[in-house]
């Protein structure tokens, strides 16, 4: 049995979750604090990947990241990085695909924090950055965990975008979901069963631990 597709899936998901956390943190903070008129536009834009068919997203990404587009051209000429049919390209595509799953829980978390608590921190002389890291984030651990895990799980579960942008290069872009698809195509049902069962088991354990953690946190803070 070759478990390499799982390794690629998890590597991709972990990297995507990490990168998205760094990108989504300032974005979700901004969205939670702003009263600007552009807020609904940004929110709608961020939520797009939830409603778009993965093929639409995959098509645009393929078009934007390929050597024929200015972006793909720039990356390949300047950094020598190929963004389609490569692992790097998969990471970039996953970051677009999973963005709402990171931004929305974090934004909800920031919005649930008592505004006076944040103001008390400013009055104590702390900057916005200090306030985010020492006051806001520690008081919304369930939201942070939910954002990280759901993003991770959602990336592991992606199929359409990965297939379009990454193809199915063994050891490079062939993730677990794509591998299962190919096994079914090749009528290798035994392998497909094993892979699928592993996916179901892992996903369940991950989600269960999130819910258990959140229930404990809520009990601790008396919510």
């Amino acid at each position: 049995m070759n478990y390499e597709p799982f390794v690629i899936s998890f590597k991709l998901a972990a990297l995507t979750a990490f990168i998205l956390f760094c990108i989504a943190l300032p974005l979700s903070w901004y969205l939670s604090q702003t009263k600007s008129r552009i807020k609904p536009f940004l929110e709608a834009l961020t939520a797009l990947p939830i409603v778009l068919p993965p093929s639409v997203l995959g098509f645009y990404l393929l078009w934007a990241l390929s050597y024929n587009s200015p972006i793909g051209h720039f990356f390949e000429e300047t950094f020598g990085v190929k963004l389609v049919f490569s692992f790097t390209g998969l990471v970039v595509a996953s970051c677009f695909y999973s963005l709402p799953f990171m931004v929305q829980p974090l934004q909800n978390g920031f919005e649930s924090i008592n505004k006076n608590m944040l103001e008390a921190s400013y009055i104590a002389g702390k900057s916005k950055l200090q306030t985010i890291f020492f006051v806001a984030l520690p008081n919304m651990k369930p939201a942070v965990l939910t954002a990280l895990i759901v993003t991770f799980a959602h990336t592991v579960g992606e199929f359409g975008v990965v297939l379009m942008v990454g193809g199915s290069i063994p050891g490079e872009t062939k993730v677990a979901s794509v591998a299962i698809y190919e096994m079914v195509e090749n009528m290798d049902y035994t392998a497909a069963h094993i892979y699928s069962a592993i996916m179901v088991g892992l996903s369940f354990v991950v989600l269960l631990s999130v819910y258990i953690f959140n229930a404990r946190q809520n009990r601790r803070f008396g919510l």
């Binding site: 008592n114 006076n116 608590m117 103001e119 008390a120 009055i123 104590a124 702390k126 900057s127 008081n139």
Partner: protein, 284 residues
């Protein structure tokens, strides 16, 4: 010395209303801000703290905190702020809440001792009672050794007994730290006990400014009624005793006999009745 001259449009429940306040406050004063809800009290406090924008000038000890559009950020203003809902940092212990503001262990210890919180210093906010939380919040506000302490209805969520205890502690801390204190309050007995000056706001304007006695006492006209009230003070003036009583939302002074004066205790709930054969009716 605080010199304040500000303008701001407020958008409240009754539509747009200009907040227009010109005010000087001396160092060390204990000022009570009073007035109906929606009159702009809290906004005024927040403007002074730098939590809300406004036009005009704020000058504290000859240093501008606000001049036209140039505003000193909230982080740099030397203020302490106590919120009505305490707003403690839930993720930190009582002691950490204080040390987060300034890493001055000696001051934190002193404050906790003054407010009898030393035993609770390792507890987290969600395990404290309302009164304990507000004590922590007041201590936290003093950790920066602020020039100005701002309190937004700090005791309104507490029961009367706890309120009295905390009023005494507030007064003690105000004196101990020599801050200029500005407190939003609706409670006449609280204002009478703590403040040396009352400012009454209505629709964004100051309509009254003076000592609590001048403003809160409404003894004109006598009533043939009986009232339940709280005895605040008994004073002996020459041969008569004068009792100050809080009845509902107002304070009254009455002459009592020496025998009554001996039997009464400050803070006691009493019934006041008086006869009036020629009542005076005044329209509000």
């Amino acid at each position: 010395m605080i010199e304040l001259a500000i303008n701001k449009m407020l958008h409240g429940a009754q539509g747009a209303m200009p907040l227009h306040v010109n005010l000087n406050i001396e160092e060390g004063e204990f000022v009570a801000l009073s007035g109906k809800s929606g009159s702009g009290k809290t906004t005024l406090l927040r403007i002074l703290a730098g939590l809300e924008e406004a036009e005009g000038e704020i000058k504290v000890d000859n240093k501008f905190w606000l001049k036209n559009t140039k505003s000193l950020p909230v982080q740099k203003r030397e203020i302490g702020f106590v919120f009505q809902d305490y707003a403690l940092f839930e993720n930190m212990s009582v002691e950490k809440n204080l040390l987060f503001v300034s890493n001055d262990k000696a001051l934190a210890e002193k404050l906790l001792e003054l407010t009898e919180l030393t035993e609770l210093k390792n507890r987290y906010p969600n395990s404290l009672s309302g009164g304990q939380k507000q004590r922590v919040s007041i201590c936290r506000a003093l950790m920066k050794r602020p020039k100005i302490l701002l309190l937004d209805e700090p005791l309104s969520a507490l029961d009367p007994a706890m309120r009295t205890t905390l009023q005494n502690e507030l007064l003690m801390l105000h004196k101990e730290f020599g801050t200029t204190t500005i407190m939003v309050s609706h409670d006449p007995s609280e204002i009478y006990r703590l403040a040396n000056r009352v400012i009454v706001l209505q629709n964004g304007q100051i309509i009254n400014d003076g000592s609590p006695k001048e403003i809160l006492l409404k003894t004109q006209g006598s009533q043939k009624f009986s009232f339940e009230g709280e005895l605040l003070e008994i004073k002996k003036i020459d041969v008569i005793y004068i009792a100050t009583v809080a009845i509902g939302q107002q304070l009254v002074e009455v002459v009592i006999s020496s025998k009554e004066a001996k039997n009464l205790q400050i803070g006691q709930s009493i019934r006041l009745s008086t006869k009036a054969f020629t009542p005076i009716v005044t329209q509000n």
